[in-house]
Amino acid sequence: MDRREFLKLFSVTVAGFALFGCRDGLFGTPGKRAHLKLADFEDEVRLALSKMKPGMELVRVPMPAALKTPGASSENRFGMAIDLDACDACGKCVLACIQENNIPLSGPQQAARGQFMHWIELFGGAPAMCFHCGDAPCEKVCPTGAANHTPDGVSAMMYKRCTGSRFCGANCPVGARKFNFDDPVASGRSLKFNANVPVREKGVMEKCSLCLQRLQDSRQGFKAFHPLESWRGRGVTTACAAACPKNAIIFGNWLDEGSPLVKAAKDRVLYAPKAIASLDPSIVYMRGHR
């Protein structure tokens, strides 16, 4: 064996070992935490509240109207209004969201930096989630179309189609998108509260889905028995809205006059964070009466 051959063989072997060895175990895998309880998640919400982010600058916006994108429904545009006069930043919406959507705990390092997987975060006492912009910047840059808009105005995520390029996260002005840096199941930081929502796997973006599963259930139930009528999403509410003790979060259909959302927002002044105010958000803040 001459030197060149030896070199070849040696490098291939070491490279093979390096790649194989790193597969598992060499650097240690995070140990499974034995039994998570709801209390762990409550603690994390408390921690998140104590590390609350500074408030966002709000500007006035008009009431959301029908989407202008092609194929959008002229009957439905789901959204929420958050009443900042009523909200006292108790954080119950955050916990309800965790339980509805099976949001995992974040790792200790990230938690220490104040970074959580929570879809709802409090900015200066105001709950903020994905604002479901009608002209969403995240959807424009998603290479695969995993981030997409439903005709009903929900900025949805298709987890199976996500390659985890994180372009959407880099392009979200309010940082509403959360990335699964590691596997929440294998690292033992997730608990399946709700069997109707899948736990997102490693390498996938996630964010507020406007409780899409509840909307889908309602739509399927309605279509089954009234297949030819149009479904307006009446009677549906999101987990955070249902959990709010002050009734400060109101879910509804912006295009349905009878929706509680339209009734509540009709005579209020509406605001949105300045960074996304021009992007036609579906979720707005209410403060003061007109």
């Binding site: 490098s11 970074q115 959807e139 998603c142 880099a170 590691d182 490693k202």
Partner: protein, 613 residues
């Protein structure tokens, strides 16, 4: 000797780098960045750095050739080799950056079997396509150059190819800059980004070629002058950024603008060590520039994996380059041993003035270009007509970034087909190589067309779901009707008669579900089709349970005779419709064992919420 040292250095960097790469592939993006707000890290900055180096090789070789500036064969071959190796390194980083690496093919903007289409509005899609085309064309260009001294027909192709590559280089790096400039991040905005990126790319590539020229033991004055010019242009951009946003990075300025001024000092530029030091300092400075650009907020998270990835990129580049350089020693060095400056002293070829549109290159290129433009136009129309979703508005500007790469790719294929055929006819190896490449390409294309499985991944099925005790419930006909209306009716119609809209817009029309057909197929095979999909029908395995599928088949039977009558049963149709619900009620009992013993049942129920419109 120098190559052996370089090989050792390369391997010494590559092996620990491979460990870092393996670790980050296994661990995912958490390996190099644990920050929930900074989504892009060292791999992207390395990508921008290496793709920049990849551009300069073509610049030096193709653009100088196209513009009629003489450069000796060995320097330009070295530059092209740099391009190829840097492209391999650059391509590795966006791939490893992905959270789900095996899904990378979803970025390719071409239809797959499910009819899903990449979102051509995303700069990442443009990026992927441009770089893929650039890689192919660079390879072709290098091969042509390598074989040109043996085949005159290839030598004649070089200038037309250079003219194709010239705009492509600028185009591709403009697209790379749009990855940043098209976003909302304040630090990344600016209309000057394309020029800024192109200059940076050329600058870093020139520095890299200069480093390699030192290793080869020679110097090319032209490239040194170009480097100096580039440093001033970069300084201009940094000054502009400072004026705009008040950002000034002293280390970048010192490494990439201040130190290159040593080219003015003759004693420095005449020593090999001096040239090496200047070129390396430019490389360091430009890498730092990319690093601070990609990670503007927190450069303090730099860890051993990041260092390992840098080592990996350097090691892979060096090893690959030295390996190819040594392997191709004969064709690269050829009979002539002259290098660099000797060639420059040749009397420049006086080009006779030619009327526009009558030059040789134009005559050779016009047909391939025309064909390329046509193909690109057809593609643009098709891509605009097939958005990723009903709700996305795709315009011509969204697809336009793919226009020239398609033109260049088609033109190159047309241009090279005949000479390649003539040369390949004589050689068995080339034939075999061609067949292997074609087979591999067809195989990969088929894989991508088929797409991945839609069954839930191990991550999802591995989750323990609290038992609710209702898993044995067998869907009744009402439930089946609900599923049919919600999931099937969009294509097959609420009444089983197809949706009119569907028939107009799609072909082929779904099979008619007559009673005979249902009977001849049998329940099991229909359940199989519902679960696994067939032709244009999507698989529903992760959305409905097998018991539900069976209930659906029975529901189909109840629909079938009433609305799509076979000629004989026409009269009796209304009666069978009345009796159908009863058979439905009776049927479930026979299926209870099958349904309740199905472990997948609860598993797949939870998937239904994952489906969006």
């Amino acid at each position: 000797m120098i190559f052996r040292i370089l090989l050792y250095v390369g391997l010494a960097l590559l092996l620990p780098g491979l460990a870092a790469l393996g670790f980050s592939l296994w661990e995912g993006p958490a390996a190099w960045s644990l920050d929930a707000r900074t989504f892009w890290g060292v791999p992207i900055s390395l990508f921008v750095f290496w793709i920049g180096i990849a551009h300069a090789g073509t610049l030096i070789s193709a653009i100088l050739l196209a513009l009629g500036v003489n450069l000796d064969r060995r320097t330009s071959l070295l530059a092209e080799l740099t391009t190829l190796c840097a492209l391999v390194v650059a391509a590795a980083f966006p791939l490893m950056h992905l959270g789900v690496v095996e899904n990378f093919y979803m970025v390719i903007p071409f239809a797959d079997a499910r009819g899903s289409f990449a979102n051509v509005r995303s700069p990442l899609v443009w990026d992927f396509c441009c770089i893929a085309v650039y890689a192919v064309l660079s390879l072709v260009y290098f091969a042509i150059h390598l074989l040109a001294d043996r085949f005159q027909s290839l030598e004649d192709l070089r200038r037309p190819m250079a003219w194709l590559l010239f705009p492509l280089v600028l185009w591709v790096h403009t697209i790379v800059s749009l990855d940043f400039a098209a976003t909302f991040v304040p630090n990344w905005q600016g209309a000057f980004f394309p020029l800024y990126f192109i200059t940076g790319a050329i600058f870093s590539g020139l520095a890299m070629v200069n480093v390699l020229l030192v290793a080869e033991g020679c110097r090319v004055r032209l490239l040194e002058k170009l480097m100096l010019a580039c440093s001033f242009v970069m300084l201009l951009f940094w000054g502009w950024i400072f004026a705009l946003r008040g950002e000034w990075n002293f280390s970048v300025f010192a490494f990439a603008a201040l130190l290159p001024q040593l080219w003015w000092v003759s004693s420095v530029r005449e020593s090999a060590f001096g040239r090496l030091a200047i070129s390396l300092s430019v490389l360091i400075g430009l890498w730092l520039e990319r690093y601070y650009l990609v990670l503007p907020t927190n450069p303090e998270t730099f860890g051993w994996v990041d260092a390992g990835l840098i080592a990996f990129s350097l090691g892979l580049f060096t090893t690959l380059l030295v390996f190819l350089r040594v392997k191709l020693r004969k064709p690269i060095e050829g009979g002539e041993l002259v290098f660099g400056e000797l060639d420059e002293k040749q009397a420049p070829v006086v080009e006779h003035h030619t009327e526009p549109l009558t030059s040789r290159e134009f005559i050779v290129l016009r047909f391939p270009l025309l064909l390329g433009v046509l193909v690109a136009l057809v593609y643009t129309l098709w891509a605009v007509a097939s958005p990723a979703f009903e709700t996305t508005a795709v315009g011509v500007p969204n697809v336009f970034p793919l226009f020239y790469p398609i033109v260049a790719l088609v033109a190159t294929i047309v241009l090279c087909a005949r000479p390649a055929w003539n040369i390949g006819r004589g050689s068995r190896y080339l034939k075999i190589a061609f067949i292997v490449i074609a087979t591999l390409f067809a195989f990969l294309a088929g894989m991508f067309y088929a797409g991945g499985s839609s069954t839930p991944s191990k991550f999802l099925t591995g989750v323990e779901i609290p038992a609710e005790g209702d898993s044995a419930v067998v869907p009744d006909s009402l439930h089946a009707r609900a599923i049919w209306n919600a999931r099937c009716s969009s294509c097959h119609g609420v009444d089983g008669k197809f949706n009119e809209k569907f028939i107009r817009e799609f072909y082929p029309v779904p099979q008619k579900l007559t009673a005979e057909r249902l009977d001849s197929l049998g329940e099991d095979s229909l359940v199989h089709v519902i679960m696994g999909g067939r032709a244009n029908m999507n698989p529903y395995v992760d959305r409905i349970t097998e018991a539900e599928a069976r209930a659906l088949v029975r529901y189909m039977r109840s629909l079938a005779p009433a609305h799509i009558p076979a000629p004989e049963t026409n009269e009796t149709a209304p009666e069978t419709n009345e009796t159908a619900p009863e058979t439905n009620e009776a049927a479930p009992e026979t299926n209870i064992p099958a349904a309740s013993s199905d472990p997948q049942q609860t598993e797949s129920l939870q998937q239904s919420s994952e489906v969006t419109q």
